[in-house]
Symmetry: C2
Subunit: 758 residues, 2 copies
């Protein structure tokens, strides 16, 4: 494998010091002269018709500068799936109807936050309450309350995948297992609440600073909802305190900030409270999953029939993608010669679910992996062996959907079994102790252009200077995941430079090259990285030409950028420093600076992704027999993210994933009363904290992904999936309680421990 | 002449509304978390050796975070004339010596302004006073106190120009006139005092926001003084409240802000007080001008011998350029077959003089024009006739220095005579009333690369979008003169777009294309404009190709961008909208956005400038016999700035020039006691105010400058020159007092009215 100088080294994240020093400016830190503070009035009802809104008292309040309702705004629906305009079902403020508790009804901008809050209390809304529905089964029955007139069935998206012959597959199966799994909603719980600040600039344009994962998407959708031209909107992503999928759409406050800035001529800022975030924020899709799997006696998989109903809440949001993907994830990890999937995205009168770390995988794979563990038990096989027997390998196809390229899945399973001393340890467990396994596969960005962009999926511009530095410009959005750092590493490696030689500007739609689809689906390292490489190679070609000419090199010589030099390969004597080479090209171009643009758009990569990551995880738990409390003693993880760009960064992703996985498995949940979320703060919404984190061992099972930059692929989201099934299996092995409805609470364990401790 | 759609139309300045609304953020408006406030300790002595500095008490003061002196900083001298490093004579903080009252000795950064001020008072500096010299004659005598060891003569720059045979010329002259003129220092008096804010960014780089005319120059010089790489410095020019030449160098506070931000890790901001600005700020060069001119009997000029001593103050600053230019301006306006110039830039123990609107012309042309008026009187000719007889015309050369291309000088003289009813009015004046004339020529940017840049002199990048908008990026610096507006007009015209279709980003060294030398010497419209045109033509070529192909056009067809369309010339049916054409190109490039870069570097244009502006001005005055107070009744101006890009903008420049010209002629002066400036506020430093402004008529004598964008050339500085000689001549005609030492104060008039009113 290639020897790298920068890739594979532990690098501190680009934003680490500024964040640690308190110098990083998040959106809410920004203040502009004459700035107004916005607040949003939200529906107290889960389903109602708006009969009348009276804003007169609010408008008259001293300090209030602007009040808007759905009546005042352009009636333009938006949504990320621009390729299918029918899926765009949301107005920035409710028009005629509200569909969930928290639905945005009106917005106020005032000279201070308190006045804005007070004004909200002065708005009188007359509602005509409608019957509401909170359950996917009920919502998809005939006669159920209808949320959207355009969609009388409440099923807004249907997605089917089928290959092989499912009936024949089951007919040929020796052992068939069918289960229903109910997986629940959890919160992104990013530390920085959503915030947006809009300013009307001197030309009537709008600049929007927003805590977003998708500057380009916000730019485009904001333009269409405001009836402005895309490039009259500039979206800047300041430092962002996490997103996890919860900040990847145009949102009401972004629209209202811009709309009200235009209306008042003054900057307007909205920042959500934590209560608003929990009460009304996007969340991971709850899903009702019915999975039927057929095996041969020897454990060979023959067929899988997967039906998933996604509880989408009141609007589509990123639900179409989740619907699309959970069926694809259902076909991953193992070879299913005969496969059928039917996914339905169902409206209910709850806060919309949307993208969240894993994007359909944690739900779908909880079912897959738990069912594999059940099957192994019933077939009398070791779960590791059963997996190894069926594991996907490089070259495997999901017909018409994807081909698996690099694949370290089998090695990951073997490695995690070895690390955890799987066989031996399983046998030596005491009552109340359990060991369990879970696996995952995940995408490195999506290839299906649902946003219908006319630009490359990722783009990069590189400016090279005679002082030996380069400036990398890209619209990618570092939201704390470390993408700026990874892209700098890729560029440093390719140009033979050091990290400190690179300035990066990212996430500004006016200043960086069109376009980048944003930070989601673990796409940035691969797609942004490929765009960087494309641009870097154009820079290199120019430098190589100049150095070749200077040293009168034989045309067959290979050149390299290495150690800050541009030289004949392995011949530092036949070369100059990077800066000198730049100066040579610049002089030859009569002073013109060296600039190159590059881009990446996946082509001929099926419908899902250019590359899949894989991995396996083993959890060891101890369950208290009296309280049912689960203590995770240790986690072992082996995963294949292709080439590891930044070990420290991968470790960060891994720790974060385990923290989220623990919460998903054991403690996080929205406590709902009908459509009302009851736990709206960090005390009542229980997340795993630092002291809950188990120790762990990790192995990077490196492969080389041909489609990825320097062989890299995803590492940020796949690991969100295996933790819950691994813990669930461990709990089963400890207690006999097999969880099919997350989370695995002490109550459920105590109730489910039919046999007592094994 | 070509019909324009946008050029020649009155356009509101790009920054007007933001400034009027109070939404424009100037450097001092910027605040960053943890920001420190800087203050500068200045020398109370005009010339002294620094024996010792004790900063211990200042450093110990609560709230003080950093104290630096000349001992702490890298010993790197700087100055704008990088091509001749010997001219770089300044340290950011005094090293070993102070050379004028106000010379920067130390800097403090503290948590608030008051603490920083208090800390200054705690710094103990032990000086050994040296003899000082305040006069150019005294300073250039042998044995005079020496300011800089490297320059024992105190004459830091010598500039000679000679062509023809000066001795022969005078021998052939029928009438020879020799005069000495003493012109004085005046202040730029920009409304926004200098301010700089530096931040250490996450990669150890520096971002500097500064009220500057020259972001690129500050970037480069800051890098060299800090020992950093150029591109590790980013200079951003926020809104700027005027410069007039006073903000075109790296200055102490810019260095200290950056140096102290690096040292403390915290943002540091310096903002000068008005008192500091007046006490120590740059100013227009005082000059001692000896001019000897020879004429034939009929008024034909034969020879001119010009000697100028520039009072440079303590450092070179932009003095070398002023020395260079005042000799060139001496050779302008009229045809001197035999010409000799010797300019000397002399150090004195006063605040450094530097560039100021006109850059050597107001001084040099005050002598030229006053002497022309004297000669006309003595030769018994009408001053207008004498000028017409000798006026330069298109094609005239200053040997080895410049060729005059477009030239509306004669037309300007004729026009201003006609407008002011010159002949008739001169005869009808009552005692105490006077009419006088002054003329000018000025450069449209310099071609002599004293900054030794390796980049084009101006550059532009244009990004074109399918929504019909374009984004123009340029490093040019709009400091209130309206250059952003002019560049947008040029682009709008060339691409057939409207002003609102164009976004401009300017004056940011990291984000805009390398490079632009800044706003000085009336260079931006011509040089920046040419760079914009160069880029725009590359955009057009792509659009034309796509539209040609779409309509299957005969290859001989000409196409045009007009009225928002790209079409066969004059055939709107054979074309598409601008945005559609962009989309066509973009699709053909598989989504890649359209981007083009352009640049301009003057070549083969001699040593001075690519193009000269010309004009003439007539002033009518009334002088009170008892008080000597001059009232300017009216001004008539006819000028040739090539194509008028923005009449409103030109009018703004004209009004500003007259306001400054009035002050230069009549009231502005630094009252000095040795090296100490005594009038350090707007009450004591007397500028013309709105109520002092005379009514006026203006004629744009349009020519078409082949080297200028759409035929345009300078309009911002030339008009700073004619006002003083015109008023001076009018005062002479009203009172018999001929002023040879500006300003024309009532005292001088009363003293000089030898004959009483004529």
């Amino acid at each position: 494998m290639k020897q790298f100088a920068v890739i594979g080294k532990d690098i501190n994240r680009n934003d680490a010091e500024a964040k640690a020093r308190g110098q990083a400016l998040y959106t809410d830190d920004l203040k502009l002269p004459g700035m107004l503070y916005g607040s949003i009035l939200r529906s107290p009802l889960a389903h109602a018709r708006i009969a009348h809104i009276d804003v007169s008292r609010a408008s008259a309040l001293n300090g209030v500068r602007c009040v808007v309702t759905g009546e005042d705004i352009p009636k333009v629906k938006y949504g990320n799936w621009r390729l299918f305009p029918d899926t765009q079902d949301e107005y920035a403020l409710a028009v005629e109807k509200v569909r969930f508790i928290g639905d945005e009804v009106a917005a106020v901008a005032a000279t201070d936050r308190d006045t804005a809050q007070e004004a909200l209390s002065l708005i009188r809304v007359e509602y005509k309450e409608l019957p509401a529905v909170f359950d996917v089964e009920a919502a998809s029955q005939p006669g159920a309350p209808v949320l959207h007139d355009y969609c009388p069935s409440n099923v807004s998206v249907n997605r089917k995948i089928q290959y092989g012959d499912i009936e024949k597959g089951f007919a040929e199966s020796d052992y068939i297992r069918e289960d229903e799994f109910n997986v629940h909603a959890v919160s992104h719980a990013y530390l920085e609440p959503c915030s947006a600040l809009a300013q009307l600039d001197q030309d009537g344009r709008i600049t929007l600073w927003s805590s977003t994962q998708v500057p380009y998407i916000v730019q485009c959708l904001l333009a269409s909802t405001l009836g402005m031209r895309e490039n009259d909107i500039r979206v800047i992503k300041p430092f962002v305190g996490g997103g996890f999928g919860g900040k990847m759409e145009l949102r009401t406050w972004e629209f209202c900030a811009a709309f009200m800035a235009r209306k008042t001529g003054r900057p307007v800022k909205f920042t959500l409270s934590r209560e608003e975030e929990f009460l009304t924020g996007r969340r991971r899709h709850p899903m009702k999953i019915r999975s039927r799997v057929g095996f041969k006696k020897d454990g060979t998989l023959v067929a899988k029939d997967l039906r998933i109903k996604l509880d989408g809440g009141a609007y589509n949001a990123m639900g179409p993608t989740a619907t699309f993907l959970c069926g694809n994830f259902g076909a991953m990890l193992y070879r299913y010669p005969n496969y059928r999937f039917h996914g339905e995205h169902v409206y209910t009168n709850k806060p919309p679910a949307s993208a969240m770390r894993g994007f359909g995988a944690p739900q779908s794979l909880y079912a897959t992996e738990t069912q594999m563990n059940i099957a192994a038990q019933e077939l009398g096989m070791d779960p590791v062996e059963l997996r190894l027997k069926n594991a996907q390998v490089s070259g495997d196809k999901i017909p018409d959907v994807a081909t698996i390229s690099s694949c370290g899945f089998i090695d990951s399973i073997k490695k995690v079994a070895q690390m955890s001393n799987w066989k031996k340890k399983r046998k030596s467990l005491k009552p109340g102790q359990g060991l369990g396994i879970g696996c995952y596969s995940f995408i490195s960005g999506g290839v299906f252009n649902w946003f219908n962009t006319t630009y490359p999926f990722s783009a990069a511009e590189i400016r090279a200077f005679a002082d030996g530095t380069v400036h990398l410009l890209t619209m990618t959005a570092d939201i704390g995941q470390g993408s700026d750092t990874a892209l700098k590493q890729i560029l440093a490696e390719e140009l033979g430079l050091r990290m400190e030689d690179i300035r990066i500007t990212s996430g500004d739609t006016a200043m960086t090259p069109q376009a980048d689809l944003g930070s989601w689906g673990s796409r940035v390292t691969l797609m942004g990285g490929n765009a960087v490489l494309d641009a870097a190679r154009k820079i290199k070609a120019q430098l190589f030409g100049a150095v070749s000419a200077r040293f009168n090199m034989n045309v067959i010589y290979e050149l390299e950028c290495k150690g800050g030099r541009v030289q004949a390969k392995g011949r530092p004597d036949k070369g100059v420093s990077f800066g000198e080479a730049v100066a040579m090209v610049q002089r030859a171009n009569r002073g013109e600076p060296i600039v190159a643009r590059g881009s990446y758009t996946p082509r001929d990569k099926g419908l899902v992704t250019p590359a899949f990551g894989f991995g396996a995880q083993v959890a060891e738990v101890e369950v208290d027999q009296e309280t049912g409390i689960v203590q995770v003693k240790k986690m072992w993880t082996a995963h294949d993210c292709g080439t590891v760009i930044n070990p420290k960064g991968v470790e960060g992703q891994l720790c974060g994933s385990i923290q989220m996985g623990l919460g998903y498995a054991l403690c996080e949940q929205f406590v709902m009363d009908g459509g009302k979320t009851l736990n709206t703060n960090f005390l009542d919404y229980k997340m795993a904290t630092a002291v809950d984190m188990p120790p762990g061992d990790v192995a990077h099972v490196e492969t080389y992904e041909p489609e990825g930059p320097m062989g890299a692929k995803e590492c940020g989201e796949g690991l969100a999936s295996p933790t819950a099934p691994a813990i669930s299996d461990a709990v089963f092995n400890a207690t006999g309680y097999r969880c099919t409805d997350l989370p695995i609470t002490p109550e459920k364990i105590l109730k489910g421990m039919k046999r007592g401790f094994i």
